[in-house]
């Protein structure tokens, strides 16, 4: 029973495929050889194309309500019960708005930039394991594929900024590129530690490596010194990669208005919005897969709950974390952003690789907790000290205002 519920989507797909096969045989139609794999691909992709945009719709409402509550207000509560249909109103508004394209814009590039952004955002879902046996394309180098395709979104961002022929768009795109390229490094290097430990780039194998239980805690990588630090760095870098607050510098009402999507209106703007959230879910999903045990249950006793529901529970928790940080932290300045990336994140992530190696070669026992943990904590204290502790700049003096 629990197994059948766990595998319900996999069984459903097989049932649909064999049913189609039987139907074709009964009709005595011989389809060309490539048609059945194509149907299989469509059946794998359709749920992804439906579930994650739906999650996007719900998340926009929940985010606005959550931020509202953090700021002691209600948030949207007019459309539908408790305002939960706000996304429908927003979607209809985006659809019926006039699509403006600047006269001087490079029209082709201007049109395809949001499309590429959404396509890359969707493509990375192919390698994410949502549950046991639930992965659209089980690539051996799934992690590599994820980062390679994810990096293409930076191209789309620059296409959007460049083709708009607008100084704000171009400045915003350059900021976004600088930020995304800088944070791509800690993002990838923090996951390299996991690859070092598991010895595989396949995301399904990485999840399997975390499926055992050692005592009370599961063998998730987040419960190791290097894994905890790696997860923290991964989430910070993901936050910057997604241009979300406190790293939302590509947008800035006071200097560059909406940044690289300033010249987009109507549904193209909605596509930027969609891709931003889709990337957020994808990166959260990757973080879950790498550090939080993927679709594994936290305790062996809870294994009867279907694996895919664990994945989505963790996904919602990470989305809440993203919303929470957005509601808490003020944004950085561009130089602070770069300082954080190059002076703290990258050295820290390199130290983390050494810590992971120490963990691996010390062997089981308390020794590896001590060595790896001491290295991570020591490096954190040392690297965090010089640039982030508050400098005493003395009493502020005024030359003219006295």
């Amino acid at each position: 029973m629990t197994d059948s519920l766990d595998q319900i989507f996999v069984t459903l797909k097989h049932w649909l495929l064999s049913g189609l096969d039987d139907l074709l045989k009964w009709l005595e139609v011989a389809p060309p050889g490539w048609s059945m794999p194509l149907v299989s691909i469509v059946l794998s992709l359709a749920p992804i194309l439906m579930v994650f945009p739906a999650l996007f719709a719900i998340t926009t409402v929940l985010e606005r309500k959550g931020l509202g509550r953090i700021q002691n207000r209600y948030g949207p509560n007019r459309v539908g019960p408790f305002g939960f249909l706000q996304f429908a109103a927003d979607g209809i508004k985006a659809l019926i708005k006039e699509d403006l394209v600047p006269r001087a814009a490079d029209k082709v590039v201007h049109f395809i930039a949001p499309v590429i952004l959404v396509i890359t955002a969707f493509t990375v879902y192919a390698v994410l394991p949502f549950g046991r046996n639930m992965v659209a394309a089980d690539l051996d180098a799934g992690l590599l594929f994820f980062f390679a395709v994810g990096a293409a979104s930076e191209l789309a961002v620059f296409m959007a900024g460049w083709s708009s022929r607008n100084k704000y768009a171009l400045l915003g795109a350059m900021r976004a590129i600088a930020q995304m390229v800088s944070y791509e490094i800690p993002l990838i290097l923090s996951s390299v530690a996991v690859v070092m430990i598991t010895g595989t780039l396949s995301l399904t194998k990485i999840v399997e490596a975390q499926s055992t239980h050692a005592g009370l805690l599961p063998d998730w990588f987040v419960f190791t010194p290097w894994g905890f630090m790696g997860f923290t760095l991964f989430m910070i870098a993901a936050n910057a990669e997604l241009n979300r607050s406190p790293f939302d510098l590509p947008e800035g009402e006071s200097e560059i208005i909406a940044g690289y999507f300033i010249e987009y209106s109507g549904f193209k703007f909605a596509l930027f919005f969609l891709s931003e959230y889709l990337s957020m879910f994808a990166l959260s999903g990757l973080g879950i897969t790498l550090f939080l045990g993927g679709w594994n249950a936290p305790f062996a006793a809870l294994d009867f709950i279907p694996s895919w529901s664990w994945f989505f529970a963790k996904l919602l928790a990470l989305i809440f974390l993203f919303i929470w940080t957005r509601g808490t932290l003020p944004r950085l300045r561009q130089d602070q952003l770069m300082n954080l990336a190059w002076k703290f994140m990258i050295p820290m992530v390199l130290v983390n690789l050494v810590a992971a190696a120490l963990w691996h070669f010390t062997g089981p026992g308390w020794m590896r907790w001590l060595t790896s943990g001491a290295l991570v904590v020591g490096a954190y204290m040392l690297l965090g000290k010089p640039q982030f502790e508050s400098k005493d700049i003395g009493k502020r003096t005024y030359r003219f205002a006295d």
Binding site: R69, I70, R73, T328, L329, K385, E389
Partner: protein, 199 residues
């Protein structure tokens, strides 16, 4: 240590997030169309004309002196003085406004018309939901729309209305005294000729 400030901040926002579900004090929002926050007594929006008695037009205190029209900084008041006179609240024969229009789209709610009015006849109203689909005619208020009873004034601005009523009572008493003196004088003048004739 690096990051302690972030954790403190996260705790603060979490406290506010959860607090908004358990205590009303955290949610200060007034859900406007359903709820309204009470107005303070000195709230003011646009002027209205005070009338006494039952008939809004006959009871208008305004005597069309046009001081407010001249003083109005954005010139939003338009008055046409009547050709004839009628008896006002003091019992004196006075002109009255044949037309009294205020363009609410021009009015800036400065209250200068109220300050300069010697007859306590124009006051500030507190009604603020005045949106209309016709931006020209809909925002031009004539004297029928502007006329509101003294009871209304007492209701929206009790303190000011009491002062205004007291001032008016003094005026009326003065006017009565003058009228009585006049009447006495009239009696004496009608009575006096005889002794004059006698001398």
């Amino acid at each position: 240590m690096l990051g302690t400030g972030i954790i403190k901040g996260m705790a603060e926002t979490a406290r506010n997030f959860l607090g908004s579900y358990v205590s009303r004090e955290h949610l200060t929002t007034v859900q406007y169309p359903e709820e309204r926050s009470p107005q303070i007594e000195n709230a003011r929006q646009f002027p209205f004309l005070v009338f006494d008695g039952d008939d809004p037009i006959k009871g208008l205190r305004c005597v069309a002196c046009q001081i407010c029209e001249k003083e109005c900084p954005p010139k939003c008041i338009y008055i046409v003085k009547s050709k004839d006179k009628r008896v006002d609240y003091k019992g004196q024969s006075q002109f009255y406004p044949a037309r009294f229009d205020i363009d609410l789209s021009v009015c800036m709610s400065c209250q200068i018309c109220v300050e300069v009015c010697p007859f306590e006849s124009i006051k500030m109203d507190t009604a603020y939901e005045l949106s209309t689909t016709d931006r020209f005619g809909g925002l031009m208020a004539d004297k029928h729309q502007l006329a509101k009873s003294n009871e209304h004034y007492r209701h929206i601005h009790p303190t000011d209305a009491a002062l205004s009523d007291a001032a008016l009572a003094v005026e009326v008493a003065k006017a009565k005294a003058v009228a009585e003196a006049k009447a006495k004088a009239a009696i004496t003048t009608t009575v006096s000729p005889q002794p004059v004739a006698a001398t």
